[in-house]
């Protein structure tokens, strides 16, 4: 992968390698800290084993259900043309922008013991639903991952040449034939990757287990780490669990890198494909059913947040606004760090790749591996690392910004690196021949090609950070909070109305931040 013939200059080395070093410190460094602190030899108790079992089994079940629902959803979305299709596809493309805790509140409003559905079925003398525990955790994970899985599969459909559909129509291949010759081979190539990514996301999702887990029976490894640190003051236990969690994630992460194709977050999939089978009424009925079901499943909780939050949002206490300010600050700083690291690393990778292809590939793979390090593990490692020197609570917000930046890095890198490589390839020589150097070379020749991916990934990073409820729970001092944390506290004290107000504010701010950054990347330039 020779990107360019550019010489490696000191500036690239300094920025690139310090970004890389920071990443290594955050990922492998924190794991090393855990390893040194963990009582590795200590045997796992039966309750530890049941925590591991729960973590893995909920992830398998969540990933399986998400994929199973996504398959028919993607098919219907891809082939049916209806009003709102574009909107649904857009929403499906941006699942990360919705803060986890907001979605959880919505899910409780719909599926909780006193939610809409329980209320409805109580008319038929059916016991109310119990959302706490395994069911609730799986339900929330399925909610988050149906859009992701659907998006992946629609991408799979879109990658199939239209000729294959026409060929099938000509040859008179029927619906089951199409499923055999077109859909199944496509699914076979995309499903393993989707499954692994969802599996990984579910294994390391903290907020869902925190809010919907129901005691020791429904505790994930990350929740157990949180409890060891915050309730038991037991660093060795937290570190031991941290090592287990990291091993799980690392194995899955490596498998994901090996088996999955990159997600495309931004490109539109608004291609209209005609199909000449599936004209039968029963297929239409089925497609209508699945789309209605999925839309209700996804949009009802969000709608409930809007309905419940629209009035309280105007009477939120000052403390919420202070937290909102904290959150925005953390999100912006986190986004800047993330983009700064991604650009620095891309600059180095693009140059190193020419002379030392293996080194650059290693850098690339290790950077993507951050996906495998859960933010919680990084947070736990940092907590134990800095505890002897300064109170972890005094630097809650900077740490949160830093960890969130590391989490957004793989996404940013995946978008910025190819753009920079292309810019160097297409315009690098031209810039050199015109005698551009240093910053003006970057500003005039390279930056305009990076603006779009930088804007998009900065928006994504900011939104991710805005909605994060992970590291902050470990570090939050009693007198500082972020919006998701305040929302969680309100929820746990059953102030549903205030929590809904905060939820609406939080989701609006996330979308706004994303939009501002993304637009910023698109302004004033006419690049096709």
């Amino acid at each position: 992968m020779a990107y360019s013939t550019q010489p490696i200059k000191l500036i690239h080395l300094i920025f690139g390698s310090s970004a890389f070093a920071l990443l290594l410190l955050l990922t492998l460094g924190t794991v090393l800290v855990l390893w040194l602190n963990a009582d590795i030899k200590a045997t796992l108790s039966s309750s530890d084993w049941s925590i591991i079992r729960f973590t893995v089994s909920q992830a398998i079940v969540s990933a399986t259900i998400s994929v199973l629902i996504a398959i028919p959803t993607a098919r219907a979305l891809f082939f049916r043309n209806f009003k709102g299709r574009k909107f649904i596809l857009t929403i499906m493309g941006a699942p990360f922008i919705l803060p986890t805790i907001v979605a959880i509140l919505g899910i409780i409003a719909v599926w909780g013991r006193s939610g809409y559905i329980s209320e409805f079925i109580s008319n038929f003398n059916i016991n109310p639903l119990n959302i706490y525990g395994f069911t609730g955790v799986v339900l929330a994970h399925v909610f988050f991952n149906i859009p992701l899985a659907t998006r992946f599969i629609v991408q799979g459909w879109a990658a199939i040449p239209i000729e294959h559909f026409r060929l099938s129509a000509q040859l008179g291949i029927n619906t089951s034939g199409i499923s055999q010759h077109i859909e199944r081979p496509m699914l076979k190539s995309v499903i393993p990757g989707i499954f692994l990514i969802i599996f990984l996301l579910c294994i390391s999702s903290f907020a869902v287990a925190l809010a919907l887990g129901g005691g020791p029976k429904a505790t994930t490894i990350e929740l157990a780490i949180y409890q060891s640190l915050r309730f038991d003051f037991n660093f060795a236990k937290a570190a031991q669990l941290g090592i287990i969690q990291f091993s799980l994630c690392a194995i899955l992460g490596i498998m994901t890198v090996l088996f999955s194709k990159p997600v495309q977050f931004s490109s539109g999939l608004d291609i209209k494909i005609e199909r000449w089978d599936r004209t039968h009424f029963r297929y239409l009925l089925f497609d209508i059913f699945i789309l209605t079901f999925v839309c209700l499943f996804l949009f009802l909780p969000l709608l409930s947040i809007f309905i419940r939050g629209i009035i309280p949002i105007f009477s939120l206490p000052n403390t919420v606004w202070i937290a909102a300010f904290n959150s925005i600050l953390v999100a912006i700083v986190s986004s800047i760090i993330s983009i700064g690291m991604a650009i620095s690393m891309s600059g180095l990778i693009v140059r190193v790749s020419h002379k030392f292809p293996i080194t650059s590939q290693t850098i690339e793979i290790v950077s993507f591996l951050t996906l495998a390090a859960s933010p919680f593990i990084i947070g736990t490692g940092l907590f134990i690392l800095i505890f002897p020197y300064i109170s972890p609570f005094t630097i809650a917000l900077p740490i949160t910004a830093l960890v969130n930046a590391a989490m957004a890095l793989p996404f940013a890198l995946r978008m910025i690196l190819p753009a920079m490589a292309r810019a160097e390839k297409n315009y690098g020589k031209l810039a050199d021949s015109l005698g551009m150097t240093k910053f003006s070379r970057f500003r005039i020749a390279i930056w305009p090609r990076l603006r779009r991916p930088v804007g998009f990934s900065a928006g994504l990073a900011a939104a991710l950070s805005m909605g994060d409820l992970g590291v902050i729970t470990l570090f939050a001092p009693v007198d500082v909070a972020t919006l998701p944390l305040i929302m969680y506290r309100l929820m746990s004290s059953y102030q549903i109305s205030a929590a809904s107000g905060v939820a609406l504010l939080l989701v609006s701010l996330s979308i706004l931040l994303f939009w501002v950054f993304d637009r910023g990347g698109q302004l004033e330039h006419n690049i096709r």
């Binding site: 108790s45 039966s46 309750s47 049941s50 925590i51 729960f54 909780g112 013991r113 006193s114 016991n127 119990n130 706490y132 525990g133 129901g214 005691g215 020791p216 029976k217 505790t219 409890q227 640190l229 915050r230 309730f231 038991d232 003051f233 939120l316 206490p317 000052n318 403390t319 919420v320 202070i322 505890f387 300064i390 109170s391 972890p392 609570f393 009693v478 007198d479 500082v480 909070a481 305040i486 506290r489 309100l490 746990s492 004290s493 059953y494 102030q495 205030a498």
Partner: protein, 334 residues
Amino acid sequence: MNKFINFAAGFLLASVTTASADDLPKLTIYTYDSFVSDWGPGPAIKKAFEKTCNCELNLVGAGDGAALLSRLQLEGMRTQADIALGLDTNLTARAASTGLFANHNNSLKNLNLPIDWSDDLFIPYDWGYFAFIYDNIKVKNPPKSFQELIMMPDDFKIVIQDPRSSTPGLGLLLWVKEAYPDRAAEIWEGLAPKILTVTAGWSEAYGMFTEGEADMVLSYTTSPAYHIIAENDETKSAANFDEGHYMQIEVAAKLASSKNPVLADKFLEFMTSNDFQSIIPTTNWMYPAVLAKNGLPDGFEKLISPSKSLLIPSDKAENVRSEALSEWLTALSQ
């Protein structure tokens, strides 16, 4: 202990320090969330103490009682807290061993507790009995023992608190262990299917109960007093258990790292005074550690009295705790 809180955004945020006149010394107290809520004792206590102390009282909610101790351990000598308020006898030995707390100079002689009290570090401010609270309209035949609770129908659900973060949760753990020293694990296995969920703190659990998510919640025999007195609602009752009820004695202590030791002592003195104690029954909904001059308010006479009072001495509680905790974790994680 009033935990009838919940409902004000205020408490969360009791956290965010209000701007203060710079010249006044500030006394910071870490306590449990419900204590600082608008409905809890916090506002009245703050007002009463600030009237005499020429200082600013900063009450900070730091989770539930047990999480409070862990929080202090994590902050260590760097903590801003001058006083920790809201630990109980089940935690005092563990708390004492951290070395974070300083001796008090209170004579303790006007205390009016069901047990004798002599502790150099911790001073009690209220007490009560743990009990399960139910709605006597919905539940006609409440269980009268742990055994009966186990035998309740499948859809009868209770909410309890995590013994690692919450003092009621820990109290229940020791209640079961004290009532059934050899059969605790078995009792927990029986209770497991009845438990809707385990919350981190008392507020969460009680909120779930009042919202109708659960049939019974672990709280105090004094909890119905809140509904009777504050809401004129007699539908909430405490289930009287044949095994007896475990007692909680809530305490406070000064941190060794306090930068305002004199002011801290002054607060601890105030804590056993009539001003503080008379606020407790109708805000924290517990029995005061020193009976106020005018006695208990009307409504408290309607509360149940346990047939037998259980309490593991604080020096033994820590050992019992670790064994009982692993039994609990094992039973509930299956």
